[in-house]
């Protein structure tokens, strides 16, 4: 068999396999819960990429940013120009080491999650992103049970993405998809500063 015929044969097998996989799969008839975790980069940026896909299909999107506070970021500047399609709430007061006040952090996280829960169950959104909520969970500013209850009460229409390192086991168990971003090589370690338009 020539290389060309061999290639064609392999690709036919791959196509058949893909077709079989797709045929077996079912539409869940409800929004999914996705978790982006791990120590690597790309947890939040991947959520913003999912937002872009949703917006491309005319979906309505909500974002609640936990922890990150009022920094000027590229993503915020971009999405703020699309107020009819993206509702954006930033509810932390900066990374937790900025405030150094646990009670204030807990109050901010609870207020953020109250807003998030309202969006998730409202039926007004196709996608709600809870950015860096895993960090708030990691500091025990929010309980796993509170967040799980909020996810379970979601509208059938609504998918939810939770980002941040150290995702909690019960939330991962409940999620439809969990992806770990692993750092193989990181520019900070090579002594490079965070870059505008890439890292924020």
């Amino acid at each position: 068999m020539s290389d060309r015929e061999q290639h064609k044969k392999e690709m036919q097998a791959l196509k058949a396999e893909q077709k079989r996989k797709t045929a077996d799969a079912q539409d869940p008839g409800r929004g999914l819960v996705l978790v982006h975790t791990g120590d690597g980069k790309g947890k939040s940026s991947s959520a913003f990429g999912v937002i872009i896909r949703a917006l491309g299909w005319g979906h309505r999107v909500g974002v609640v940013q936990f922890i990150k506070g009022n920094w000027v970021t590229g993503e915020k500047q971009f999405f703020n120009k699309l107020p009819d399609q993206v509702d954006w709430f930033t509810m932390g007061e900066g990374f937790t080491w900025e405030t150094q006040d646990r009670e204030r952090d807990v109050a901010a996280a609870e207020a953020a999650f109250a807003k998030a829960s309202e969006m998730i169950k409202s039926g007004d959104y196709d996608l709600v992103v809870l950015d860096e909520i895993n960090i708030a969970l990691g500091y025990d500013y929010l309980s796993e049970e509170t967040v799980l209850d909020g996810l379970k009460a979601r509208s059938d229409r609504t998918s939810v993405v939770l980002t941040g390192r150290g995702a909690k086991p019960k939330i991962c168990d409940y999620a439809d998809l969990v992806t770990e971003m692993r750092e193989i090589k990181h520019p900070f370690k090579a002594g490079i500063t965070a870059q505008r338009g890439i890292d924020f």
Copy 2:
């Protein structure tokens, strides 16, 4: 020491550590090369999230999609509405198992990379995304050396993101950042179809 004082102390230490790290880091004075690889989801969507950050800062962006072909996707529909900020080229003819013709695939990949190289060295872009190029490399449609040479010839202004599973070792060695997306739990495996607005 009270819980509150303890928290404050920990957060002060964290802040000091962060400040030290940031002070040590240098601006590289040139665009970075980032690789998103691994078997998990989020490689392309994370690149689209980086695009959003870049656009938020008014940067100019180019995208060359290898392999994915002419499917209708959310990302393409979204970015096509921003022709002044994003130059988007889709140069495959669908996943390689669609064409089943190796010579045609090689020609398409080479044409795509010729376009990509031109964008990367032109100095016209802050960010160029080579989406799924690692797949084209994995099938030997392109050689590592050709792609490395293209990356090395980039304008100082231009960062490049390469996505796709199975990133080649030499390209990872050259890159500033390599992130592996690992699949912990995947909805396809739980029998759920790809979802519009999330998976494409």
